[in-house]
């Protein structure tokens, strides 16, 4: 018995003594140095060998070199499929009060984080000229109320692809400006879209438009602009009220249009992978990364990009949003952290990200010199990002809104109840969550 106790207790006492002596030594030796060096910690969601992750490392090094006694550590916490790996770490840090100085976050969550006083208002520390450099879209996505909380050096805008050959074969005259480009102001209205889609259907003998129908974030990202372009909204200004928004005439009208697409056989009720690439669909709502896929893997595919269809004139909308960078209220050095956010998302970052990943530069000054987006059809992606409305709800309950819209869209696709009942279900879901925030 004594042996067992000795066996367990003596090493523990030894370890405790060693730990204490180490900590006391460290404290005395390093106390002076610690006072001088300002340590900033940055958490990003991308691996170090990804162009974006690599860019953050380069900018952090630059920042260290430009500031005496500043030490910047970039931690790459790789996100899994739904961003859960990274988000779990951030959630845990929020719970324990151990958030780093700077974090990456999805732009749609800025409202949730600000509602919980997690983010630092950057406009209080950055000069107006610095902020004015960013695209209005980025400032808008990173703001809540009068404050700017998050920035990014680039943005994404998802295009609507169309098959030039199939359009010609179906006898569809593509709207074009004097240079032969399908520009933003020549976008089809709901009626024009439907009329031409029917021609395509008659020609192709199958659903001519491809949409991903599963309930995930894609509906909010890529399909909601079709709905919002009808001056429709999911919630009011406070991001919580559905009454008079999710159930108003404009929203109903827009969803009715979506419903018609499915009921008239314009869009298939379930996702058809690669339908556009295989020329089984003539129009497709897919991500901008598909440009490379089409060019490299389907060289014979004659694709181009068309503007998003709209409901009511003057309300055109297009996808936008990405992961942004923000400083947290946890930081001991708010001014320095805000400055670092601006540095991590500066013009050099924008240039690097365009070169490495083909992303749209997030600084106004760089738009004209952008090589990737100087010509149509890609220029249309830039135009729709810069010149259309961005009405994704700013709400502390964004995840619920995203799911509720997904429920409606999936329900329409599967013909799972009337439009009214789908909207009522979605309203009930959102209202239940919103009540917790009122």
């Amino acid at each position: 018995m004594k042996n067992i106790i000795s066996f367990l207790v003596i090493p523990l006492i030894f370890l405790a003594l060693v730990a204490c002596s180490n900590s006391s030594n460290n404290t005395s030796e390093n106390s002076d140095a610690e006072e001088d060096v300002k340590e900033l910690e940055v958490w990003v969601h991308v691996p170090a060998d990804d162009p974006e992750g690599e860019n953050y490392d380069v900018r952090a090094k630059e920042f260290e070199e430009a500031h005496e006694n500043v030490d910047v550590t970039v931690e790459h916490i790789v996100k899994t499929g739904g961003g859960s790996g990274y988000n779990d770490r951030v959630n845990a840090a929020i719970t324990t009060g151990e958030l780093p100085d700077i974090i990456a976050l999805e732009s749609v969550y800025v409202a949730s984080y600000t509602d919980s006083d997690i983010l630092l208002p950057l406009n209080e520390y950055l000069d107006q000229a610095t902020l004015d450099s960013y695209l209005d879209t980025i400032i808008s996505a990173g703001s809540v109320g009068d404050n700017i909380y998050a920035l990014q050096s680039f943005d994404l805008s998802s295009p609507v692809y169309y098959n030039v050959d199939l359009f010609q074969e179906a006898g569809i005259k593509v709207p074009a400006d004097e240079n032969g480009n399908w520009t933003l102001d020549l976008a089809w209205s709901y009626e024009e879209f439907l009329e031409n889609a029917k021609k395509l259907k008659d020609h192709m003998g199958q659903e001519p438009v491809h949409m991903f129908t599963e309930n995930n974030g894609w509906h909010m990202y890529a399909h909601s602009p079709i709905i919002f372009s009808n001056d429709a909204r999911m919630v009011g200004e406070n991001g919580l009220d559905t009454e008079g928004y999710l159930d108003n005439n404009n929203t109903m009208e827009a969803l009715q249009f979506i419903d018609t697409l499915f009921r008239d056989g314009i869009v298939a009720s379930t996702t058809r992978e690669d339908a556009f690439a295989l020329e089984e669909a003539a129009i497709s709502f897919e991500g901008p990364w598909m440009v490379d896929v089409f060019e490299n893997e389907y060289p014979d595919l004659n694709w181009s990009i068309m503007p998003y269809p709209y409901g009511k004139g003057g309300h055109q909308s297009a996808p936008h949003g990405s992961w942004y960078i923000a400083a947290t209220q946890n930081t001991e050095y708010p001014e320095l952290s805000a400055e670092l956010v601006a540095h991590l998302t500066n013009k050099d970052s924008a240039i690097k990200m365009e070169e490495a990943a083909g992303l749209i530069p997030g600084h106004k000054e760089l738009l004209d010199s952008s090589e990737t987006y100087s010509d149509y059809p890609r220029k249309l992606m830039l135009e729709q990002l810069v010149n259309t409305n961005h009405l994704k709800p700013k709400s502390p309950i964004f995840p619920v809104l995203e799911d509720a819209l997904g429920d409606i869209m999936e329900g329409i696709a599967l013909d799972n109840g009337s439009l009214e009942s789908l909207i009522n279900d979605a309203k009930e879901k959102v209202d239940r969550e919103a009540d917790r925030f009122k």
Binding site: M1, I4, I5, L8, S84, N87, D88, N91, I94, T95, G97, S112, Y113, D115, S116, I118, T213, E214, N215, N216, S269, T270, T271, R272, E273, D274, I397, P399, V400, D403, D407, E410, G411, L414, N416, E428, K429, R432, E433, R436
Partner: protein, 301 residues
């Protein structure tokens, strides 16, 4: 007499505590305390609060509000109902089929060794790998099952997009992967039955069914009950397959209690509400465990 027995019992307990043997239990007890008991106590505590993950310093006591909300939450009800459906689809089939397979391959032979390996191989694969594998096999556009159906002139089936098909399909996948482990347990039990019993029954003129009914089944009843309970509790805990394959869709038709709890806690960040679901879920599992203890005890007698 009763006092003497009690004293002996007390002395035995004290002897055990002071013998040093208790130290050997310490690592396991510490781990269970940290990872099971402490979180469970926290979950019970949080279930009476409005704990929102992004506001850890702003937690208020809300009494039974979360529990009341579950009662009115149709999505929670659907998830509970789906979990019950998973149990109904999977448990009887898994027990019957694992018993059937165990009976077929219990005899030692080279062919049966091959079959045992083949039947057991799905179990050693990761659940995520199996889920993705079946997702591809049953894909409506490029999956081999639908290609095969199409070649026979049948319509392609939307296994995961049709709300009526998705849950049975996921149940089948879970059944396919889980059956082998139960089969192994029952096979071990079958091999323990003395062959003399079957020889005697043969001499009495019993047919195969009679032997199964009067010798095999009573001999492995304990193991069958064990398998039944393990499969039931395991099926209630389903989360990975619906998460990976359908993310609970379409229209919530494949969501389970755990998946709904996970969604509420991590995606919507409502820790208080998710904790209340956890507590109800834990109560259900404790009730099953209680029934298990009862059944096993009765079996022992």
């Amino acid at each position: 007499m009763h006092n003497i027995k009690q004293k002996i019992k007390q002395n035995k307990t004290l002897d055990f505590i002071f013998s040093g043997k208790v130290l050997f239990l310490l690592p396991a007890f510490t781990l269970i305390s940290i990872f099971v008991i402490y979180p469970l106590i926290l979950a019970v505590g949080y279930s009476f609060t409005d704990y929102y993950l992004l506001k850890p310093n702003d937690i208020s006591f809300v009494g039974f509000d979360n529990y009341m909300e579950i009662a009115y939450d149709k999505y929670a009800k659907k998830a509970f109902f789906n979990s019950a459906k998973y149990v109904i689809y999977i448990v009887p089939l898994q027990v019957i089929l694992s018993l059937f397979l165990a009976t077929l391959i219990a005899k030692k032979s080279k062919t049966n060794t091959l079959f045992r390996t083949a039947f057991f191989s799905p179990y050693i694969l990761s659940i995520i790998v199996v889920s993705l594998l079946w997702k591809n096999i049953l894909d409506p556009n490029s999956g081999i099952v639908n290609e095969f159906l199409a070649s026979l002139g049948f319509a392609k089936q939307e296994f995961f997009s049709d709300p009526n098909l998705a849950l049975p399909t996921i149940s089948f996948i879970i059944l396919w992967q889980g059956i082998s482990f139960q089969m192994l347990i029952l096979m071990a039990a079958l091999q323990d039955i003395p062959s003399s019993l079957y020889e005697a029954a043969s001499m009495e003129g019993a047919n195969a069914w009679q032997k199964f009914q009067h010798i095999t089944l009573p001999s492995i009843k304990g193991q069958v009950v064990f398998v039944l309970i393990v499969v039931t509790t395991g099926t209630f805990k389903i989360i990975i397959e619906p998460l990976v394959i359908t993310n609970g869709g379409p229209q919530g038709s494949t969501s389970s209690i755990l998946l709904y709890m996970f969604e509420q806690g991590t995606r919507y960040r409502q820790i208080g509400y998710a904790s209340a679901i956890t507590v109800i879920f834990a109560i259900i599992l404790i009730m099953i465990a209680f029934v298990q203890r009862k059944l096993v005890k009765e079996e022992g007698r």
